[in-house]
Symmetry: C2
Subunit: 340 residues, 2 copies
């Protein structure tokens, strides 16, 4: 009988997640009923927000159950089909996550068009997927940069931050990145075209902004909180905007850090802070993908991937997201199997 290795959560992490919180389990793959297809996953998405789903406390997405296959975005190929609209060979996106293969109905998967020149289907997990859409929504709906305005992008070398900064540049803004190593500072400037960047582990964000944006900033894409948010609020000019779509610094902590002490600037400077979740905005995918493909085609947008190979690399790949070493989108690549 055909089986699939899947990643299960077996223990809820107290603080920082560890390898021992997970297990690899071999599960049977059922045979197809009418209207179903079998999909071989080729790429799995690994994202910081998944840490929040490992806690059993109220959050914006339901906690992952213990001892069950973990979900998350994945791209795969239909290798067996009893559903005429999804023939063998069709690439599909699902949220059936951290497993090698699965059986699904028509509504469980979304057929994918060929990716842009120079990119593989894993682009649908990153630059054309949820991370790209997250960046797009924050930039277009919250930051709305006007030409010449100064934008601060946190996690600038990450999949969301790097993309958001490039989109702000494409719209004519002056873009400053915050990231965590000298190598990433160099990367976001040379590869993503940021106007400037700093290493917040070696320079206080407030000092870096005084140096790089002496006249202040007009917007901030904040995935971090803490001293970076405080420095951003302090540097904001009148009418500044703050997009909040994550708080990676808090995900592993049972006791979140205090918020910024300078929130009185919200009325003095007429600031707006808006939080959003990409899962609310699936209706924006066509508009976003059209725009992203245009920017990719004319070179205003590039995307990096950090690729780990094999289902057994999923947990280590997830854990290293929080060490700050990765650049761009982290994906798991699964080998071609099953006669395809």
């Amino acid at each position: 009988m055909l089986t699939s290795i899947e990643v299960q959560l077996v223990r809820r992490p107290d603080a920082t997640a560890a390898v021992s919180d997970f297990d690899l389990v071999e599960a049977p793959v059922p045979s197809l009923k009418s209207g179903q297809v079998r999909v071989e996953n080729r790429y799995l998405s690994v994202d910081p927000y998944m840490r929040a789903r490992m806690n059993d406390r109220p959050s914006y997405c339901p906690p992952w159950p213990l001892n069950a296959p973990l979900d998350g975005d994945a791209v795969g190929i239909v290798t067996e089909s009893r559903e005429p609209t999804l023939p063998s060979g069709q690439w599909v996106l699902s949220d059936c996550g951290w497993r090698e293969r699965y059986v699904a109905g028509r509504s469980d998967v979304r057929p994918l068009e060929p990716p842009p020149a120079g990119y593989g289907y894993s682009a649908y997990l990153g630059i054309l997927g949820a991370t790209g859409l997250t960046a797009y929504l924050g930039v277009m709906d919250v930051l709305a940069p006007r030409p010449g305005e100064v934008m601060l992008i946190t996690t600038a070398a990450g999949a969301v931050g790097g993309t958001a900064g490039q989109m702000c540049r494409a719209l004519g803004a002056h873009v400053i990145g915050s990231t965590s190593t000298p190598a990433k500072v160099a990367h976001v400037i040379s590869r993503y075209g940021f106007d400037a960047a700093f290493d917040y582990r070696n320079e206080q964000p407030a000092q870096a902004l005084a140096r790089l944006a002496p006249d202040g900033i007009d917007g901030m894409f904040d995935n971090v909180g803490g001293t970076q948010l405080e420095a951003g609020i302090e540097a904001m000019r009148t009418g500044g905007r703050i997009a909040k779509c994550g708080a990676i610094g808090d995900y592993n902590s049972p006791h979140p850090a205090p918020g910024p002490p300078n929130m009185h600037h919200f009325f003095g400077k007429r600031l707006v802070m808006r939080g959003f979740l990409v899962s609310d905005h699936h209706d924006r995918i066509p508009e976003f993908q059209r725009k992203a493909r245009d920017w990719l085609a004319d070179g205003q947008l590039v995307a990096d991937e950090t690729v780990f190979s094999g289902i057994d690399s999923a947990v280590p790949a997830f854990l290293q997201l929080f060490a700050g070493h990765n650049i761009g989108k982290t994906v798991i690549s699964l080998p071609v199997t099953g006669g395809f």
Copy 2:
């Protein structure tokens, strides 16, 4: 020669302002040139934001100079005129503030229509003035309550909070007030028609909200920050709005308190926090005054004043704003003098 007693700031307060930071000075009132009028002030506005103007540090409004007459909204009567459009007897609003009388040109004052039935011209400092407009902007532009939504109003017995809560009620919302004494709790319920209220000095805001809004809240008018903002964010339902137009708890403190530690809810719950300043929105005065007059006429809006008498009461009246004893708008009433 005609003179005017005026209040001057003679020393910048370190933390809590004190009587010794001010002085009463008798200044000459010049004779009129063509195009000028002399105005006898009848009502002076006393507002918490003035504390921020006493510091010599960057803020949203310029610091008050030392040893010069303090400005602020004031309502008075033209008693001598060399300007045909401002005859003697005309009531006018100015920001020429804390003094008995002054000489002004046409563009320094705004002529006032008669106040609504049951109110005096001091209404133009409160319910029809900057405090009413502040409440209106926060309610209409930020909170935008839909019928049945739950709104939390801080400083509920104050001029801005009490008005904002009544406006939310007029729009069909369920309104909960936070205030600082049992008497004020009773007042905002019986006189302002709040659905519920609590005394944050005797009950933790988080516990009060769990009791009074067990299903959460949809908006918060936050003039305070601190634990009240934290509790409000915690209780917010998805899509909640926070209007910020002040932080009275911080005005006297050189070291602002830490911000709320639960700002990760901004993305999980898709919250929006928007700061605003009434001084940006003078163009909204006609719309606001029309609406406020309607609500006053049909009894959906009432306004209280705490009145102090005489120019020598201005400083004590200002200082007691921070003790939390006042209800409604605090004004200084000046006696009729000068043969009028």
